[in-house]
């Protein structure tokens, strides 16, 4: 029997992870994500799991990657400054194809910025923050329910594609308390073990290699250097490097429409809001208050890889409006994929867009 609870977003995130079988958490205290670590510190030792508070965020993501190689579902949670510190090892997780989940409860930046205020300013950092070319997956919850559901889902995506997966939440959703339905069980898609006798870094049909868990007799060498399909360093052969990086990118990008998770409202509308995270709530309020104004809504639960095909499903669209708690990071991505006008509605400072602000935009339509 599923049960209904009243829960904080950060707690729901931790509970979603536990339901998905997360058994390792490495973290470091940082506002506004700390409740996730605190909840894991209480819960993991009682579920046969491991909680460890590391000396910084660099060590946190490193421990998570190490734990993942023993087969454990592993995660960390942080915010802006800690997220920045994690960037190098996120690249390591990418090139070594280590499944792991990184929760970023975004706050105002740059630097120490606004520790207690919400933002969506790290949406491009999670896509491009580590050096080199790569592609990963980023989910964006807009409610406490989605904190639970999407965190659980993040583990499945991490295991399926062998990538670090980001839950790009924010202070607003992380600290919000609202009603949530806890399901009996969540769907679990485990990582596919490496077939013995096959090369550990040769992609399967989907570009994803099987996983050679430590301690199972694979004798696998895992390195952050460019490596061949055996996993051996081969850092000067241009073809091996190109093939590896192209596979790392394409295993995610070629599956982007399969990965996509979204909600589409009024696909015949001429004016279409595109949102992810908290502004989704404001748009829903506007559409609730002013029904029948010919407004459509594309709510993305997964932002990266960007499912650009969805924009074209709004066949009558004349304008896309993208409200974000940043200066237009995803509006830029929408612009890349359409010839139609894209109105970016940035909002800085930690407050949400008000329904009135978005309504004014609609009233200003020709």
């Amino acid at each position: 029997m599923s049960k209904i609870e009243f829960m904080q977003g950060n707690t729901a995130c931790a509970e979603g992870a536990l339901a998905a079988g997360c058994r390792f958490f490495g973290g470091y205290p940082i506002t506004p994500s700390t409740e996730i670590a605190e909840h894991m510190a209480r819960r993991l030792p009682k579920t046969d799991g491991v909680f460890v508070q590391m000396e910084d965020e660099i060590a946190s993501i490193a421990a998570v990657i190490g734990a993942s190689w023993t087969g454990a579902r592993a995660m960390t949670a942080t915010s802006g400054p800690g997220f920045s510190l994690m960037m190098e090892n996120i690249g390591y997780a990418v090139i070594t194809e280590t499944p792991c989940v990184i929760v970023n409860i975004q706050r105002g930046g740059p630097s120490t910025g606004q520790p207690t205020m919400g933002a969506q300013g790290d949406m491009l950092q999670c896509r491009f923050g580590s050096h080199g070319d790569y592609s990963t997956i980023a989910l964006s919850p807009s409610s406490v329910q989605e904190m639970y559901d999407l965190t659980a889902k993040a583990f499945n995506l991490a295991d399926r594609f062998r990538v670090p997966v980001f839950v790009m939440s924010d202070e607003v959703t992380g600290h919000m308390r609202e009603r949530i339905t806890i399901p009996d069980r969540v769907e679990i898609v485990s990582r596919r073990p490496l077939e013995k006798g096959t090369l550990p870094f040769r992609g399967g049909d989907d570009g994803v290699p099987g996983f050679p868990e430590f301690g199972m007799g694979y004798g696998v060498h895992v390195t952050g250097l460019t490596h061949d399909e055996r996993g051996y360093p081969e850092a000067t052969d241009p073809h091996i490097h190109a093939a590896l990086v192209q596979r790392l990118v394409s295993k995610v990008e070629s599956a982007r429409h399969d990965i996509a998770d979204y909600e589409m409202v009024n696909p015949d509308a001429e004016t279409v809001f595109v949102t992810y995270g908290p502004p989704t709530r404001t748009v829903k309020q506007v559409m609730h208050d002013h029904p029948g104004e010919g407004v459509g809504h594309l709510h993305l639960r997964i932002v990266w890889p960007f499912p650009e095909r969805l924009l074209r499903l709004f066949t009558n669209a004349k304008t896309f409006i993208v409200p974000e708690m940043n200066m237009g990071q995803i509006a830029r991505e929408v612009e890349r994929h359409t010839d139609l006008p894209v109105i970016s509605v940035p909002k800085l400072g930690g407050e949400l867009h008000t329904p009135g602000e978005l309504q004014k935009l609609l009233e200003a339509r020709p």
């Binding site: 490495g26 000396e55 060590a59 190490g66």
Partner: protein, 262 residues
């Protein structure tokens, strides 16, 4: 120790320069691991970045060649998530003492059950001979062209103070002693730190009048003093030479440890 049992022959030739001391330290470590009865299936080698950190790539076990300075943080995750695995970390003076210093002291403090073998060649070898926190005062490197001015970090002292259960230092000349020390570290529950001073004729010796491999090994042999000898000199009230590097076992204790297999 049988070469075929532990080394990946398909990885040869290795990258180490002629006369490098790292191979000696790797051999000593594997000899100790084999003495423990550990196998390629239940042992994991983990490293950061640098010459020393390439070692796991030549060994048949599961191995994690990680980012610069972070090997101990990765190793902490591996060991805590699966305490059945025996975890050995190869590192160097730059990797461990400079960029990885914070992880080093906290791994000692946690007293996590793994063994670290640090190949201290007193230089950044892989990047071509820059000064490290362990470059002796006055030594020439590409970033200390007028002689290193900064005091040297005593890594073993640091490990003792930060809480490791086993700490010893030897050199690549002291093959038997080093092997025994590594084995004592592997046997000790909790964090074990074995520092091996190694010769780097290419990046260090060449610029410091120790161009020949034998000159560098001789330098290591004659630069050290046994901790027992220091003890005896102190007891007799004799002055202890300050320019000598103490070698031997610094601590063996049983503080509560993390990640020990139950």
């Amino acid at each position: 120790m049988s070469f075929e049992d532990w080394f990946r022959e398909d990885r040869l030739p290795h990258i180490y320069c002629t006369g490098c001391g790292n191979g000696t330290v790797i051999n000593c470590t594997l000899e100790a691991v084999e003495q423990m009865g550990w196998t390629v299936d239940d042992t994991v080698f983990i490293s950061g970045i640098g010459c020393s950190s390439r070692a796991p790539g030549y060994i048949k076990t599961d191995s994690l060649h990680t980012t610069h300075g972070r090997a101990l943080a990765f190793a902490t995750g591996v060991k805590l998530a699966n305490p059945r695995l025996h975890v050995v970390v190869f590192t160097g003076d730059g990797d461990l003492a400079a960029i990885g210093g914070n992880h080093f002291i906290h791994a000692c403090r946690r007293n996590i059950d793994l063994t670290v073998v640090c190949m201290n060649n007193m230089i950044y070898g892989m990047t071509g001979g820059q000064g490290s926190p362990c470059t002796p005062v006055g030594a020439i490197s590409t970033t200390t062209p007028y002689g290193a001015a900064e005091p040297v970090f005593d890594l073993s002292e640091l490990a003792v103070t930060a809480g490791a259960n086993y700490v010893a230092r030897w050199t690549s000349y002291h093959v038997r002693e080093l092997t025994k020390a590594v084995q004592a570290g592997l046997e000790t529950p909790g964090f074990s730190f074995i520092e091996a001073l190694t010769q780097c004729p290419t990046a260090y010796g060449r610029r410091n009048k120790l161009r020949q491999v034998s000159d560098m090994v001789q330098y290591l042999r004659t630069s050290v003093i046994l901790v027992q000898k220091i003890q005896r000199m102190r007891e007799r009230g004799e002055p202890v030479p300050e320019d000598k590097i103490p070698v031997g076992e610094f601590v063996r204790r049983n503080r509560p440890a993390m990640g020990v297999q139950k």
